[in-house]
C-alpha cells in the first residue's frame, strides 16, 4: 500500500510540476493520471500492489467530496434566496449536458468505421 501511495503521489507531484512549468490549464493530478497511463502502456501491465490500492481508493471516491461539500455552510444565505432557481438550473443543465454528450458520442461512433 505504501509503495502504491508513493507511486500515485509521485505522479501527482510530477503532474503539478509539469502544469506549473508550462502554465497549463490542466490540473496536476490529471496530468499525473495521463503520465501514469503512458508508463503503464510502456511497461505493459499494472503491478498487483498498484491495482489493489487503486481499487480501494476508487471504491470510496465519493467520500472524498464530503469535506468540500460541507463548505455549503458558508453560502446558506446566498442559497436561501435563490435555491429553487439554482436547483432548476443545475438539474436542467446537468441532464442536458449528459444527454447531448451521449447523443453526440453515439452519433460519432456510428460514423466511424470500426476496426
Amino acid at each position: 500500500m505504501i509503495r502504491a501511495f508513493a507511486l500515485l503521489l509521485l505522479f501527482q507531484l510530477i503532474g503539478e510540476i509539469v502544469a506549473r512549468t508550462f502554465v497549463l490549464p490542466i490540473p496536476g493530478p490529471v496530468i499525473g493520471m495521463l503520465l501514469l497511463v503512458g508508463v503503464l502502456l510502456a511497461s505493459g501491465g499494472v503491478p498487483d500492489f498498484l491495482q489493489r490500492t487503486a481499487e480501494g481508493l476508487l471504491a470510496h471516491l465519493s467520500l472524498l467530496f464530503v469535506p468540500a461539500g460541507v463548505g455549503v455552510i458558508a453560502h446558506l444565505s446566498t442559497l436561501q434566496g435563490a435555491w429553487l432557481a439554482l436547483l432548476i438550473t443545475l438539474i436542467g443543465s446537468t441532464l442536458i449536458t449528459i444527454v447531448i454528450t451521449a447523443l453526440v458520442l453515439r452519433l460519432f461512433i456510428g460514423q466511424t468505421p470500426r476496426a
Partner: protein
C-alpha cells in the same frame, strides 16, 4: 463533571482528529443506511453525510475552517485518487484508442453544452451575474472550477458548492436518464456522466461498470482542461 465534559469538548473541537473521525463515521453511517434502503437515490451517502455534518457544525457553532483542518486529510486524497484513475483507463485503452475522434468531438460539444446551458437557464431564471459566473465551470472537478470562477469574476467557494451539487445530480439521475433513453453502451454512459458531473459522476460510473468508470474518469480529466479554456472565451462572447 459538567465542566470536565465542556473542557474535553473545547479541546477536541479544536483538533483535526475529531472532525476527521466524524467525517469518516458519518459517511460510513450514511453509506450503511443507503445500502440498507436498497440504494434509494434520495439517501445518497454524500448528500446525507454533508447534511448531517452541516447540522453538526451549525449545532456546535464550529467554523468551517476548524472543520476543514481535520477533513482536509480526506480532501487531500482527491489528488492521488485522480491519478489512480489511470488504472481503469489503461485497462480500456484499446477500446478508447479506436474511439478517439468521436470522443474529442463529444468532448468539445459536451463541454460547451455544460457551460452554456447553465448560464442560459440561470439567466432565464434571473440569477445575479456573480452567481452565473460561479455556475459556468460547474461540470468540472473542484480545484480547476474554483480557479476558473475566480478568473472570470465568480465566487470560488460558491462554485465549489455548485460543483458538488452538480456531481450529486449527475450521480443520482444520470444513469437512470440514460437507461430511460436506451443508451446501452458502457463507454458512452460513462463518458457522458463523467463529462457532466466530474468525480462524483465517475464514482457512480465505477459502480455501474468498470468500463463506464474508465471513460468517466477520462471525460472528467479532459473536460477539466477544455472547460478551463472555454469558460473565459464564452463569458466574453456572452458579454457577461
Amino acid at each position: 463533571m459538567q465542566e470536565n465534559i465542556t473542557d474535553i469538548w473545547v479541546y477536541l473541537a479544536q483538533t483535526p482528529l475529531l472532525w476527521l473521525t466524524l467525517t469518516l463515521l458519518v459517511y460510513l453511517a450514511a453509506d450503511w443506511l443507503y445500502q440498507r434502503a436498497g440504494r434509494l437515490p434520495l439517501l445518497n451517502p454524500v448528500l446525507l453525510a454533508i447534511v448531517v455534518l452541516v447540522l453538526v457544525l451549525m449545532g456546535t457553532r464550529t467554523p468551517y475552517d476548524t472543520y476543514f483542518a481535520g477533513a482536509q486529510f480526506v480532501h487531500f486524497l482527491l489528488g492521488p485518487a485522480t491519478v489512480a484513475l489511470a488504472i481503469p483507463l489503461y485497462t480500456y485503452y484499446a477500446r478508447l484508442k479506436k474511439m478517439l475522434l468521436p470522443l474529442v468531438g463529444a468532448l468539445l460539444i459536451g463541454s460547451a453544452t455544460g457551460v452554456l446551458s447553465a448560464v442560459w437557464i440561470g439567466q432565464a431564471l434571473d440569477l445575479p451575474r456573480a452567481v452565473l459566473l460561479s455556475l459556468a465551470p460547474k461540470s468540472i472537478t473542484t480545484p480547476i472550477a474554483m480557479g476558473i470562477s475566480e478568473q472570470v469574476g465568480g465566487i470560488p467557494s460558491l462554485t465549489a458548492v455548485l460543483v458538488i451539487l452538480t456531481g450529486m445530480i449527475g450521480a443520482l439521475l444520470g444513469n437512470e436518464l440514460l437507461t430511460l433513453l436506451r443508451f446501452g453502451d458502457n463507454s458512452v454512459r460513462g463518458f457522458a456522466i463523467g463529462l457532466a458531473s466530474h468525480g462524483l459522476g465517475t464514482a457512480r460510473a465505477l459502480q455501474i461498470h468498470a468500463e463506464a468508470g474508465a471513460f468517466a474518469g477520462l471525460a472528467m480529466g479532459l473536460n477539466g482542461a477544455t472547460t478551463a479554456i472555454l469558460v473565459p472565451l464564452l463569458v466574453q462572447w456572452l458579454g457577461l
